[in-house]
Amino acid sequence: MRRATALAALGALTFVALHVLLMATWQTWFHGGDTLPPWFMNSARGLAVGAVVFAAVGLCVSARDRNPAVDTRFVSAAWLALGALVPMAAVLFTMRGGPGTLFPIAIAIGSGIVFVSAAAGGCLGWAFGRLLRRDS
């Protein structure tokens, strides 16, 4: 349970860090303009960066996981996504313009993207781990 909580907290922190990065660089890196508020799913580039960040986190978590079963990577990804869900909803409801008329779909798609990215990174970490163990 402690591990699950830690993973959820990590997911939440990662999302907050991602959002801070987006806010700081929204005009320069993401060309967000004035019409749209900084939000990772308001820009294709933002979405790509978000996916890469969560994949990297999933990879790191997977690398530290000693369990040889691949299933645990999906469980870790689910906890990371669950943790990210809280700040994601908070950001969506408090950002300029509000959550919009599609917020349940936005939250569902956002969580799905976080989960799939983290799981992809986790699986990659698991595959690397297997290769390394085989070599040693």
Binding site: M41, S43, A44, G100, I105
Partner: protein
């Protein structure tokens, strides 16, 4: 009879007055003749002189193009078409525009064997030369019809007609409408032979048109039955469907639906203020018009040519207290990376639905407050899940 001095004076005076009046009248008549002559000369000058400016009086309305011909906008749009592929029952013609604006058409049979080539060499805006070569290398060259502008669609039809007529060099030709044919050939409309047309536009847009016949359709325009032959044009971008348009020639109704951009219909009644259908729409026009709708509406959306509603001070202050629930941006709220994708249609339909029934973000969890809003929300979930969406009235 004796005349006294006094009477004589009156007589002379009277004569002088009469003479003066006659003189004045004559001058007046002369002046009016001169003015009339000047006006006539001016009018004659205006109509006769090529340098005279022809004035259009206020309230004269729309200046019509030559009857039966499409306007300048049509040719401008046509000039942006890159390639037109026309499929007939026994041949396929592919016309392309060269970099210098000349047109080239290749005719093949349905298996791809070359049957002939046609080239349109544009001399200037009014003149062009048509060169046709058979598969055996026999060629003929003719001056294009004066006053007509060759298009890629026309080049395909002309090439097909020449091949079908088996035209050989030296054969006397004549114009049948806009198509050249052997002299005294029986009348034939080559446009009726077109089975399928593919119009390739800039930016990966393609309009594919084909002919079909449909039974009674009441779902396309509510309260109206459409039936019979129909030209169905499907618009795709990089192979992904983005819209459809139908032309019902019998009913003379043009209907279109470009996902997330525009939908509607035109008939003679709607076009009455501009003189109804001033030309006979053909299969190529249907494709070009569909592409034009997409092009113009996309530009309006991107450049913001349409007036945007701006909130007032009271609304802004209210927004500080209740910033979120009424927010409804154009496109996919919170998912704007999807704005350029096929999902944009789902978002716009949902926005329209919300606007129609006065829904807000609250409608998602206060499901008991409005069944209509629940319908909007279910519709968008269904649409995102791969459903066709709420509005799907089209044939085929």
């Amino acid at each position: 009879m004796s005349v006294s001095l006094g009477n004589r004076s009156w007589a002379v005076g009277g004569l002088l007055v009469v003479a003066g009046l006659v003189g004045l009248a004559s001058a007046a008549v002369k002046a009016s003749h001169v003015a009339a002559a000047q006006a006539a000369t001016q009018a004659a000058t205006q109509t006769a002189s090529p340098s005279a400016v022809q004035m259009v009086p206020g309230g004269a309305g729309r200046v019509a193009a030559k009857p039966g011909e499409k306007g300048a906008t049509y040719y401008w749009l046509e000039s942006r078409v890159r390639r037109v592929t026309t499929r007939f029952a026994d041949a396929v013609t592919v016309a392309e525009r060269a970099t210098d604006g000349d047109l080239q058409t290749r005719i093949t049979d349905v298996s791809g064997n070359e049957l002939g080539r046609l080239r349109v060499d544009r001399i200037d805006d009014a003149k062009h030369v048509v060169q046709y070569m058979t598969a055996k290398g026999e060629s003929l060259q003719a001056l294009g019809q004066a006053g007509t502008k060759p298009t890629l669609d026309w080049a395909n039809q002309q090439a097909y007609q020449l091949w079908r007529d088996g035209v050989k060099p030296g054969a006397p030709l004549e114009w049948q409408g806009t198509v050249m044919r052997p002299r005294r050939s029986p009348a034939h409309r080559v446009e009726d032979d077109v089975l399928r047309l593919e119009v390739e536009w800039q930016g990966g847009l393609t309009a594919t048109a084909e002919r079909r016949t449909v039974g009674d359709r009441t779902d396309i325009i509510p309260g109206r039955v459409l039936r019979g032959p129909v030209v169905i044009t499907r618009l795709t971008r990089d192979g992904v469907p983005i819209g459809v348009a139908n032309w019902f020639p019998k009913e003379r109704v043009f209907v279109w639906n470009l996902k997330g951009l525009t939908s509607g219909y035109l008939d003679a009644e709607i076009l009455k203020p501009v003189g109804g259908w001033t030309f006979e729409p053909d299969i190529f026009w249907v494709s070009l018009q569909t592409l034009a709708f997409h092009d113009f509406k996309t530009q309006i959306d991107e450049r913001g040519l349409v007036a945007e509603r701006r909130p007032g001070l009271v609304e802004k202050l209210a927004g500080l207290i209740e910033p979120s629930v009424r927010a409804d941006e154009p496109g996919c709220d919170g998912l704007h990376w999807l704005d350029g994708t096929i999902f944009r249609y789902c978002c716009d339909t949902h926005d329209l639905c919300y606007a129609k029934f006065g829904c807000t973000s609250y409608s998602w969890w206060q499901w008991w407050s409005s069944w209509q809003c629940d319908g909007c929300n279910l519709g968008v979930v269904y649409c995102f899940g791969g459903g066709h969406g709420i509005f799907s009235p089209y044939a085929g």
